[in-house]
């Protein structure tokens, strides 16, 4: 579920970063206005709990494999969606920096996939709707599993869409979906079971915890804005993906088709999300995405004109140049090491 920078395009990575940063700002603002000074320590320590809990695995019956808690839904139940979103975002940030679980550019995607869906979709629209304030055991378990599965599958769908829109992987959309969604179904069910079991345990041992939790999210109606935002994104994404399918073949022949039919395919593919993100990109003068600028401004650099042409001469010089570059980089590293070495205590 943790996206990798290597599979992202700048437009998708940057767009998701902006989205997640906006959500973090929004949640911080909501929490500041509620003015409970015990909230920050509580959130911090509870997110450390999630971190610690994720490090311990349990055995999954009849499979021989093991799993651990994800924590998104549990945090939302305990803290309310806004505090939970900040808590998850901080957990994912620390994971990105320390374990390289999801890159820095991919952090926006990761926070959105693993934070937004459980906190602002699964929890308010499924869990709270059905569970109510004092659910029966059966209801608690059913709704926890439902919400966890929904949150996780939406997150998996997010991963697929973000990868697909980045166009780095040649994996066809349908195949990718067919791989990702079934894998996350049992994971979601187990997440739901563990969440329900923990919630039930705490209900029995210390029901007042949930009074505090509801107090934390009390008076906060479910914000319509984030839901509208996600619907808009879903619309744009599906529109983008569907038109992508209509305009091009999602298989390995894509490259060949592109070169036999010219650049029309790329023009057709430049649809809603891509177009707007690419626009933002050129506006902010971040390096223009290669594939688009190829059709807009051909022959801008030597690399662009020679890129599609398969020519043994340029291939060889590319390899020779690459090898020499690697040598130079290695030498630079060695030289710096030597220089730095005597300074070592």
């Amino acid at each position: 579920m943790h996206m990798a920078d290597a599979l992202l395009s700048p437009a998708v990575g940057g767009g998701m970063w902006a989205l997640s940063a906006g959500l973090i700002g929004y949640c911080s603002k909501v929490l500041r206005t509620t003015l409970d000074d015990w909230k920050i320590p509580l959130m911090g320590v509870v997110s450390a709990f999630v971190f610690a809990a994720q490090m311990v695995n349990f055995s999954i019956p009849a499979t021989g494999s093991s799993g651990h808690l994800g924590g998104g839904l549990l945090l939302a139940i305990l803290l309310g969606p806004h505090a939970a979103f900040l808590a998850i975002a901080s957990v994912l940030t620390v994971q990105a920096f320390f374990f390289a679980d999801g890159g820095l550019l991919a952090l926006g995607c990761t926070i959105f996939n693993l934070g937004f869906f459980p906190c602002f979709v699964a929890y308010p629209l499924i869990y709270r709707r059905i569970a109510g304030s004092n659910p029966t055991t059966a209801r608690l378990w059913t709704v926890s599993i439902l919400a966890a599965v929904a949150g996780l599958e939406l997150g998996a769908l997010g991963v697929v869409l973000e990868t697909r829109l980045s166009e780095i992987s040649a994996l066809p959309f349908t195949t990718f979906i067919a791989l990702m969604l079934p894998i996350h179904l049992p994971i979601g069910i187990i997440e739901g079971i563990v969440t329900a079991a923990v919630v039930q345990f705490v209900y029995r041992a210390r029901p007042e915890v949930f009074d505090a939790a509801t107090a934390l999210s009390q008076g906060r109606k479910i914000a319509v804005a984030p839901v509208l935002v996600v619907l808009a994104i879903a619309a744009v994404c599906s529109g983008g993906v569907l038109s992508w399918f209509a305009s091009s073949h999602p298989d390995g022949l894509e490259w060949a088709l592109f070169h036999s039919t010219g650049t029309e395919e790329f023009a057709g593919r430049e649809d809603a999300l891509h177009a707007s993100l690419a626009h933002v990109q050129t506006k902010t003068a971040i390096l223009p995405d290669y594939t688009f600028s190829a059709s807009e401004a051909p022959a801008e650099t030597g690399a662009k004109t020679q890129w599609p042409a398969v020519d043994p001469g340029t291939s060889v010089s590319g390899i020779v140049g690459g090898a020499i570059t690697l040598g130079i980089v290695a030498l630079a590293g060695l030289a710096l090491r030597r220089r730095a070495a005597p300074a070592r205590p």
């Binding site: 290597a6 700048p10 920050i40 320590v45 093991s66 820095l104 140049g321």
Partner: protein, 270 residues
């Protein structure tokens, strides 16, 4: 449970590195953060078939590893450890994309292999850059940098609290797991029921701890906002660090340097 020990050791190791003095350590965290982000954006902005053009970017992690006096093997091991997802998604490229892309004599390399290699190279570049950033900065300075760059203070506090209590709670979890393991002979991992009870009691202890922490903070004058001592100083060297690297990234991005070198060398021979 060995795994928990391992993770805690990993967390500690990077933080330990960040405490050592080096010329990279003395660069302002904001400068490092911004440069790292520009670097990652540069890496991912290359087209998927551009492999050779990416190579000069290796200079950034290589130089930083040297300047920061960081263990290369350790960083590479960490990069390898998290590579499965990128490999899993990228490995389909060679299977699906058979377009001929590179011809050396009679040997044809398909576009799929090139893009797969490019994904791997991007992966190494981006992940090592992120790891180098944390290994030369540390969480506290990074949080300060984030705050100064305009991140909401609630989020920065949240990060600092999480990091502060991470170790405490992991130790607590570790103790509980050890107790469970001692009482369950011959069982490799705990059952789901045990796991739920373990999590439940850990959660209750966590909530109690949060309450104690809050009371202790109130006693010391906490009023809902934590004031961070700003120790960051942005000097000319930091601006130079950003400017030089960004200029290098731009030069690499818009002029295919290995290609030029190759042409030059081939030109001499022909």
């Amino acid at each position: 449970m060995a795994l928990v020990d391992l993770h805690v050791a990993e967390l500690g190791a990077l933080e330990e590195m960040a405490r050592r003095d080096s010329s990279l350590r003395r660069i302002d965290p904001r400068a490092k953060l911004v440069t790292t982000l520009v670097f990652i954006l540069t890496v991912v902005s290359f087209g998927i078939y551009e492999l050779a053009a990416l190579l000069p970017l290796l200079l950034y992690p290589v130089v930083l590893l040297s300047l920061g006096d960081l263990p290369t093997g350790y960083i590479l091991r960490k990069v390898a450890l998290v590579s499965p997802f990128a490999i899993l998604v990228g490995i389909f490229n060679p299977l699906l994309d058979h377009s001929p892309h590179l011809i050396v004599g009679d040997f044809h390399v398909s576009g799929g292999w090139i893009s797969f290699a490019s994904i791997l190279l991007r992966f190494v570049l981006t992940v090592s850059a992120a790891l180098i950033l944390i290994a030369s900065t540390g969480v506290h300075h990074l949080a300060l940098a984030l705050q100064r760059l305009g991140a909401p203070s609630a989020f920065v506090m949240q990060l600092l609290f999480l990091y502060r209590y991470l170790f405490v709670l992991t130790q607590e979890a570790l103790r509980t797991v050890r107790a469970i393991t001692l009482r369950s002979v011959d069982r490799k991992a705990m059952s789901m029921k045990t796991y739920a009870h373990f999590l439940g009691s850990l959660l209750l202890r966590t909530l109690d701890r949060a309450q104690r922490i809050h009371v202790a903070m109130r006693c010391r004058g906490y009023d809902g906002s934590v004031r961070l001592l700003n120790t960051l100083q942005f000097r000319a060297a930091d601006a130079l660090f950003i400017a030089l690297w960004c200029a290098y990234f731009l030069a690499i991005r818009f002029g295919n340097v290995p290609h030029r070198i190759g042409e030059l060398v081939m030109g001499v021979f022909t």
